[in-house]
């Protein structure tokens, strides 16, 4: 895949233009995080080709995109499954039994942290605190929060998303 093969749709390009317009003249680099999110929502992950393309859209050097995309943990730099489960592993959730539920989740999917199920449906990642401590244990799939997790609830969610 070369840079030429990545081209945002017309709608996406318009959205990028709108985002750049939010910042003062010459500060289009501020659009980098929102545009990376946009690209990830579209393609599922952020490939080097996508990063190069974003650099050209924002008129910055590719390295400026790489160094940012590798710093922020939300950006997937490798292909991921259809549903990326981002599981909170931080203190308050663990206090409420988060570690046990997490073990159950991995057993159920028969994968390890960071892996994707063979059918490409689920990827599991460990993340730090999701700011939902009072509703823990919790994980997130894209924008949706799943809270008050138990083994039974995890089974239900996985079964639903496997249909």
């Amino acid at each position: 895949m070369t840079t030429d093969t990545i081209v945002f749709s017309k709608e996406l390009l318009e959205k990028v233009k709108e985002i750049i317009g939010r910042y003062p003249e010459g500060r289009q680099k501020s659009a980098l995080l929102p545009v990376l999110h946009l690209a990830q929502q579209e393609y599922g992950w952020v490939s080097p080709e996508i990063m190069d393309y974003i650099a050209s859209l924002l008129d910055i050097q590719p390295i400026e995109v790489y160094e940012v995309a590798t710093f922020y943990t939300m950006f997937h730099l490798e292909p991921v499954g259809k549903n990326v489960i981002e599981y909170c592993r931080t203190g308050p959730c663990c206090t409420m039994g988060g570690e046990e539920v997490y073990r159950h989740l991995l057993d159920k999917l028969e994968i390890k942290t960071g892996q994707t199920t063979p059918d490409g449906n689920f990827t599991v990642k460990e993340v730090e605190c999701l700011a939902a401590c009072g509703w823990g244990p919790c994980f997130q799939i894209r924008e949706k929060f799943y809270t008050h997790l138990t083994n039974e609830k995890v089974d239900e969610i996985i079964n639903d998303l496997s249909k």
């Binding site: 680099k29 995080l33 710093f71 203190g91 730090e128 605190c129 009072g134």
Partner: protein
Amino acid sequence: MAESIKILTDKIGIEGIENFDVYRKNGGYKAVEKAIKKMSPDEVLDEVKKSGVRGRGGAGFPMGMKWGFLAKPEGVPRYLVCNADESEPGTFKDHYLMKSNPHLLIEGMIISSFTLGANTSFIYVRGELMYVIYILEKAIAEAKKAGFLGKNILGSGYDLQLVVQPGGGAYICGEETALLESLEGKRGNPRNKPPFPAVKGLYQCPTVVNNVESISTTPWIVLNGGESYSKIGLGRSTGTKLISASGHINNPGVYEIELGLPVEEFIYSDDYLGGIRPGHELKAVVAGGSSVPILPAALILKTADGNSRLMSYESLSEGGFQSGTMLGSGGFIAMDETTCIVRNTWNFARFYHHESCGQCSPCREGTGWMDKVLYRIEHGLGNERDIDLLVDVAKRIEGNTICPLGDAAAWPVASAIRHFRDEFEWHIKYPNEAIKYQAVYKGDMIKV
């Protein structure tokens, strides 16, 4: 429910309050009208100063004073940035406030921007809360349509554009200069200070960064006056505070409390946390988010001098780090006797290791050391020198870094050892017991 004043959460629970019309019908945006039509920016600033409201993000710095530091050179734009990067473990109040009543923050942003003379303001929301970003963007569009945002607000000639910016999943961006770097499209590496953001902040222009909760107090202060606000609370801890409560309690959630409430009442009253889960008892509390020192039950309920401990900046820090803690961001994590302090401390140390930006060696290397040493103690591989090693590493991080993340990483470890040293020693002396599934030290060194 006890009769208690609600400044931030009074409208939460009203059906459809996230919609502009409902919010407006319930007295919303009246404060904006009052500020913009009847007051000058300096008059609003005066009220905020009088209120004594302190930064609710964790540092507790008086907000009016912070606003007063803002440089105002001719012809240079000024910026207001709202810090909604809430990532401190144990803290979820801003998340709750923004999703439940988004217009309150928008209203606060308009008042604060007007006061500071900012024409473009940002709300930097952690990227994980994308659904909250959509809620805020919808609220902004509604407010703009009604003439409260955009050009010539309420015919005053004042213009304001409000931008919601997503983060990318980095705890460090809650530090204000890291947040500004991130907002400029860079890695979240904190800046050296001085210059402070009030002089050179976003795009090297004067900038104020405030927490969601702090900004959300301004509508009430404008409507009721700073003096009324200063009468709520206790001493220099004026007003109310949102407390995010989690852990082994009966009623986890977000509570708005008047500062000065006794900790004991907060934990055990049915109006608040409703006590520890049935059949268990309180062992320890992290009172202000994972960074603040952990305290054993006895010291969170009463100070070392035997005074009743109160939920206020002053009372929680009474006794310094020897026997006190901090109010911090108000992330209140209660743990019962089933909690292994070593495991919990390792968990937090791993968090800071993961989140250190890597700029300063003491933090980059030190958090890694603490993570690894705590891991080996917890997993039965510790040796007797490890506890002193941890204390030593923590000391070498503290105060030696550009930003407070280093301190935040050192304090939980140092305080856990200070108050629960025998638990660490037990793990090292009896590794075969300590590694058993969900093993917890019961206070007896020999028997298990």
